[in-house]
Amino acid sequence: MLGRNGYRNRVELLQGTLDMLILRTLQWGPAHGYGIVQALRTQSGEALQVETGSLYPALHRLERQGWVRSEWKQSESNQRARYYRITAAGKKQLVEDLSRWEQMVAVLGGILKAAPTE
């Protein structure tokens, strides 16, 4: 369909890593979409700019899967915003994702760092 092909995740994050990053961010407390983008940018030292076109679909997908819950609250600047909160299922998912991620890093690292053998 036109829309999907025309709108890819331009950040080129590894598949599935965005979900993990979002869940991780939400572990420090509930946040709205803008807050999540800012938090990720700050923590990555301005290197990672998450596209809203990836973020919102991801947030809604996570909500549909029951890993996050959302509610409308007043923000610190007194604006009504939708806050996302990680659920117990989300926390479990994050632990799983993290261990898988570490495993993958170890495996990839082993391959990439190995000295070529003749």
Binding site: M1, L2, G3, R4, G6, Y7, H32, G33, Y34, G35, Q38, E51, T52, G53, Y56, P57, L59, H60, R61, R64, S75, S77, Q79, R80, A81, R82
Partner: protein
């Protein structure tokens, strides 16, 4: 649908707000960092990207997008179709014609051929019949043979048997007089074999190894649910009570479940409720002679994994061994082989099956023609809407979305057509109710049921795809750019499109021709059947079929005690010219008795006479006045033939031929003594009837022997067989049946209350019913064929009108350059001409192949009859050219100035 869209809207609104908040937060952050408001707003918007797209993509995660689009498409399709209501109505009506014919026919097929039998695993039930050099026997087998099969066969898990002699009514005495029931005698294990068990009480329990019922259960009886409810008001205390059946006492041991029926043939022919008696063996069952031993129908259940052919081979292998003890060589040769038929299949005779398949095929053809016609219309519409679709594409609709929308339109049209078609089908079934019931002996009401609705749904979807898929894909493939750049919406039907529509019309013509040839053949059959010289007059004859509890007249002569006084009173009714009694009217199907000789010896005469099977009829002397047939030689019965006078019989010409081997001198048989009426009472032949169609209109005269009712006294051998069962009363009167019937019924009720249940008909109706399967098929095909013809002509007209409208400018130019009216007309007619020639050519080939299956239904005409094919071709040709003439004349009248100015 508004609540649905509100639901969508709420989530959409929330998303929009979420996105707005995001941007607002970004803006205020940037302003906090010192940017100006306008700069901050621009930067925030740029960073966010395409907000509408984000919203759309995110929204789709909630999976409602699909449903939402579906709803929108449906709403939009509904609106467009309502706007072009003329087009929609044409399409819906056309499709409805096809759908109604197909679903009506399928309802009948479902009721007759696919009817689920109320037994366990009906597919493994098999009828076992003996066969011989004369083919499968028309009657059952003696007990001794069945006993052998039961002992020796391994192919069957069970073999049970029953007496099928249940066509005549039995009389079950109840509180409100005798109830007409049909009673089948069944072996003790029959219900077990069928996997049916009484809903109340028990089965016939004590059984011997042979399967017959013995002991106390000899006088037990099982009731059907209907009998239990109507006669005993569903009283559960009926168990153990004694009931009286045909004057015999039985004790009720059980009631079968609702809906259980067995056997399906014979008894159920009249739709009478059933009771089941135990089959008790008698002394005669130890015999193996035809006419000596009672014959039973044998029903077996195949073991799992055994095929019909394997079972037949097994039985065939030892059948010669089984028939060895037959004392009569001819009987032995008649039964030395076996013929098996699946029970389900044995319920429907081959002719009916053929007729049904032919009609089913015809209705499917009609459906296809209707669909093709509509496809052609949809093509035209898709072409006219090319610009609209291109605009949608230009605005961002994907090809698939356009296809989806067009399919939705097709679905909507097809759905409406199916609803209308369902109504039409119900109406059509109502219209042909009598014919369907007599021809297919259907007794449940013919209303579309679940399988029929499933088929209807399949037809709806298939129809929708057929009519819209092709135009839709073509429309979606079309280039947006080229279409938009083109001028008027009328232009731009390419040659390919045009050829496609022409092909559709050609196919339609071919299919219609096939259908019409079939219809023509059946009409000629009906015409031939109606003009067969029957050998007797049929008009102004009212026939009453009487059924009477003969056991009530035990010891009395029913002729003198009941029938003769009845006839005398009927004769005195005003307007009655003559009246007669007879066991069955010609072509009637209520009673049949076959007379055979047992000549000794092996001379050529003896062998021929052994093969002679004569229709046997007991008739009153007034029959000649009522039916007005001709005597070839000798005399018919008259008032002087009395119980005390010389016993006489009358035979027909076919009998003479079968008896002597030729019929050069029919008079030779006069005075012959063929049969004895009793001890020392030989009869002589006194007359020869000219040939008449007494079995069926299509069959030539069968050998027949008639005896005179007044001569048949209770002592004579025919009395019990002929008079005890049923008797017809034929009355010749100029008055209408509706006037005479109540008076006849009154007389009968006075004679005996049991006669009030007699059924009335006219001889004309009986004749009509006797060639009913052809008649019914012809009438239905008339409707199918007529509809096909109309659709086909509409198709030709539609395409050519469209062409003329499309080529208006070109035609105007031609006329301006000097083309004559005739030139222009011939341009259009040529177009019609080649479509007709191509369609008719293909159609003739299809008809030649297709009508071969009809052969057995035809009478007096061959399936490849050139006259019928020729006449139908001419009809379509003339009709097609007439349909083309209207647009051709319109083309000729195009005003060149007008047409060219429109450029």
């Amino acid at each position: 649908m508004s609540w649905l869209s509100r639901l969508f809207e709420r989530r959409k609104d929330e998303l929009a707000e979420e996105i707005r908040t995001h941007i607002a937060l970004d803006v205020s952050d940037r302003m906090n960092r010192g940017e100006s408001r306008s700069k901050a707003e621009a930067a925030a918007a740029r960073e966010f990207g395409n907000a509408a797209l984000v919203q759309n993509v995110t929204h789709e995660f909630w999976r409602w997008k699909r449903l939402e689009r579906f709803a929108a498409n449906l709403r939009y399709a509904f609106r467009t179709l309502r706007r072009s209501s003329g087009f929609s109505i044409t399409v819906i009506a056309t499709l409805a014609v096809g759908v109604s014919a197909t679903s009506a026919m399928f309802t009948v097929v479902d009721g007759v051929l696919l009817r689920p039998l109320p037994f366990k695993d009906p597919a493994s039930l098999v009828m076992i019949r003996e066969a011989g050099k004369r083919g499968p026997l028309g009657y059952g087998s003696p007990y001794l043979d069945i006993e052998q099969w039961r002992q020796r066969s391994h192919a069957f898990s069970q073999i049970a048997f029953y007496s099928n002699n249940t066509r005549r009514a039995s009389f079950l005495e109840g509180a409100a007089g005798a109830m007409h029931v049909s009673s089948a005698s069944v072996s003790a294990d029959l219900f077990d074999l069928l996997g049916a068990h009484p809903a109340l009480g028990r089965d016939f329990a004590p059984r011997d190894a042979g399967g017959s019922v013995t002991g106390d259960d000899k006088h037990s009886i099982l009731l059907s649910d209907t009998v239990w409810r109507t006669n005993y008001s569903a009283d559960p205390r009926i168990l153990g009570k004694t009931v009286e059946l045909n004057g015999e006492h039985f004790s009720v041991i059980g009631v079968m479940p609702r809906g259980f029926t067995f056997p399906f043939t014979g008894s159920n022919f009249n739709g009478m409720p059933l009771v089941w008696k135990p089959l008790v063996l008698k002394d005669e069952d130890a015999l193996r002679t035809h006419n000596g031993a009672p014959s039973y129908e044998a029903l077996g259940r195949l073991r799992a994994g055994v095929t019909l052919a394997a079972a037949e081979a097994e039985l065939k292998a030892f059948q010669p061994d089984i028939v060895k003890p037959y004392t009569d060589a001819a009987d032995r040769e008649d039964a030395d082989s076996i013929s098996l038929r699946s029970y389900t299949e044995s319920l429907v005779n081959g002719d009916v099956r053929k007729a049904l398949f032919a009609l089913m095929g015809a209705s499917a053809l009609l459906w296809l023609i209707a669909c093709l016609n509509v496809t052609s219309l949809m093509w035209a519409r898709a072409t006219a809407r090319k610009r609209e679709l291109a605009v949608r594409g230009a605005l961002g609709a994907s090809r698939w979305q356009i296809v989806e929308y067009l399919l939705m339109e097709g679905m909507l049209l097809s759905g409406c057509a199916s609803l209308l078609g369902l109504g039409l089908a119900a109406g059509m079934l109502k219209l042909f109710e009598h014919g369907l019931e007599t021809q297919f002996s259907i007794h449940q009401s013919l209303t579309p049921n679940l399988p029929v609705l499933a088929v209807l749904l399949a037809l709806t979807i298939a129809g929708a795809l057929l009519i819209s898929a092709w135009p839709a894909f073509a429309a979606a493939r079309a280039s947006i750019d080229a279409t938009l750049r083109q001028g008027s919406p009328q232009q731009g039907m390419g040659r390919a499109h045009h050829r496609m529509r022409a092909m559709l019309v050609v196919t339609e013509i071919a299919l219609s021709l096939t259908l019409l040839v079939g219809c023509g053949l059946l009409l000629r059959t009906i015409y031939a059947l109606k003009h067969v010289p029957l050998g007797f007059r049929t008009e102004h004859i009212v026939v009453a079929n009487m059924t009477i509890p003969s056991y009530k007249f035990a010891g009395r002569d029913m002729t003198t005690a009941l029938y003769q006084p009845l006839v005398d009173r009927v004769k005195r009714l005003p307007g009655v010219e003559s009246a007669t009694l007879l066991t069955d009217v010609p072509l009637g199907k209520t009673f049949q008795m076959i007379f055979t000789f047992d000549p000794e010896g092996n001379s050529a005469d003896a062998i021929r006479r052994r093969a002679l099977q004569a229709q046997f009829r007991a008739v009153g002397p007034e029959m000649q006045q009522v039916f007005g047939f001709q005597m070839l030689r000798g005399r018919f019965f008259n008032e002087d033939d009395t119980p005390t006078s010389q016993a006489v019989v009358v035979v027909n010409r076919a009998f003479v031929k079968a008896y002597f081997g030729d019929d050069r001198d029919p008079g030779k048989i006069l005075g012959e003594s063929l049969v004895g009426f009793g001890k020392n009472r030989r009869s002589v032949v006194v007359g020869v009837l000219d040939d008449e169609r007494q079995v069926s209109v299509a069959e030539s005269s069968q050998p027949e022997m008639e005896v005179c009712i007044p001569q048949i006294t209770p002592e004579s051998m025919f009395y019990k067989a002929a008079e005890g069962m049923s008797m017809d009363l034929a009355v010749r009167t100029q008055r209408s049946i509706s006037l005479v019937t109540p008076e006849l019924r009154d007389i009968m009720r006075t004679a005996s209350p049991d006669l009030s249940a007699s059924t009335f008909s006219t001889m004309d109706q009986i004749v009509e019913d006797s060639f009913g399967s052809q008649n019914l098929a012809a009438h239905l095909l008339e409707i199918f064929g007529g509809s096909a013809l109309l659709l086909c002509l509409a198709g030709i007209y539609g395409l050519l009108s469209y062409l003329v409208a499309q080529r208006r400018q070109e035609i105007g130019l031609r006329i301006a350059l000097g083309a004559q009216q005739w030139n222009v007309m011939s341009l259009i007619l040529q177009q019609a001409g080649w479509m007709l020639v191509a369609g008719l050519g293909t159609g003739l080939a299809m008809a030649y192949l297709g009508t071969k299956g009809l052969q057995t239904l035809l009478y007096g005409v061959k399936a490849d009859d050139p006259w019928t094919a020729g006449a139908v071709t001419l009809l379509l040709l003339v009709g097609g050219l007439l349909a083309a003439l209207v647009p051709a004349r319109r083309a000729a009248r195009v005003d060149p100035m007008d047409a060219l100015r429109a450029e």
